[in-house]
């Protein structure tokens, strides 16, 4: 368990399983990574749980590197500490994003498709030559499920598109003024 590669494997697996909804079990981790070693399944489970608790706490308190170092100091060997700190450095930002998305209870936007048409003629109008943009938004709920109610289609003529774009530019201005734009 003091082998950095094996320990890092536990951390990588933990990230996938707890935060990225991977459905693999710890038995699989044991089989895949520890089958050539004398580490028992129980030991892997115990280490997994220990790392899970530490990570949960670090996330909850939003630890920076220094406080993370203090957090792992007592319960882990030097090699393990080094791996864990490196893991936190690399993944902190990504985990933060995942954590936000986990508590996004509203829909999110899964996909946006659009097409621009030039309407030339219809049954009642001989000549139109009116460009329209057709937009399809696919929404996704927190369970990652798409359903047909969540597909929105609409079209906009030039002036409507400009109005909408104006709103979008307003949002961008607000983001910039609050230095939130990343």
């Amino acid at each position: 368990m003091n082998n950095p590669k094996l320990f890092s494997n536990i951390l990588g697996f933990l990230l996938n399983k707890e935060y990225e909804d991977d459905t693999l079990t710890i038995e699989t981790l044991h089989e895949m990574v520890f089958s050539e070693t004398d580490v028992s399944l129980e030991n892997v489970e115990a280490m997994y749980d220990k790392c899970k608790q530490v990570l949960k706490k670090a996330i909850y308190l939003d630890h920076n590197i220094t406080s993370f170092e203090t957090l792992v100091k007592e319960d882990f060997t030097d090699v393990q500490q080094e791996c864990f700190i490196k893991f936190w450095k690399i993944n902190k930002k990504k985990i933060h994003e995942i954590i936000y998305k986990k508590t996004r209870f509203n829909n999110s936007l899964d996909k946006i498709n659009w097409r621009i048409d030039l309407k030339t003629k219809s049954k009642n109008v001989n000549e139109m030559n009116e460009p329209v943009s057709i937009v399809e938004l696919k929404l996704k709920n927190n369970n990652n499920k798409l359903n047909s109610n969540n597909i929105i289609k609409f079209e906009m003529d030039k002036s409507q598109l400009e109005e909408t774009l104006q709103q979008i530019n307003n949002i961008q201005k607000h983001l910039q003024s609050k230095s939130m734009a990343s």
């Binding site: 996330i59 909850y60 308190l61 939003d62 933060h96 994003e97 954590i99 936000y100 998305k101 986990k102 508590t103 996004r104 509203n106 829909n107 999110s108 936007l109 946006i112 659009w114 621009i116 030039l118 309407k119 219809s122 049954k123 009642n124 109008v125 139109m128 009116e130 460009p131 329209v132 943009s133 057709i134 937009v135 938004l137 929404l139 969540n150 929105i152 289609k153 609409f154 079209e155 906009m156 003529d157 030039k158 409507q160 598109l161 400009e162 109005e163 909408t164 774009l165 709103q167 979008i168 530019n169 949002i171 961008q172 607000h174 983001l175 609050k178 939130m180 734009a181 990343s182």
Partner: protein
């Protein structure tokens, strides 16, 4: 235009910019988000409302799509 059928028209576009500050998972969430609320009326005059929430990078992509559309539209 009025008499030609359409697949639905955008009739309302509202937004809210907020910051999620903390949650059950972390005390320091501090993540800005944009909520969008839109109303669409279809060919049968049925109005439907939808809302969704975007992170800043998601919103930037959303904004870019509208800018791309607009650039192509003005050329027509």
């Amino acid at each position: 235009m009025e008499k030609a059928f359409s697949i639905g028209k955008l009739v309302d576009f509202q937004w809210k910019l907020g910051v999620a500050t903390s949650s059950s998972l972390t005390t320091q969430l501090n993540t800005p988000f944009i909520s969008v609320f839109i109303k669409v009326v279809d060919a049968n005059e049925q109005v439907s409302s939808h809302s969704f929430e975007l992170t800043v990078p998601e919103f930037q992509n959303f904004a870019q799509q509208f800018k791309d559309m607009s650039q192509l539209m003005v050329q027509l």
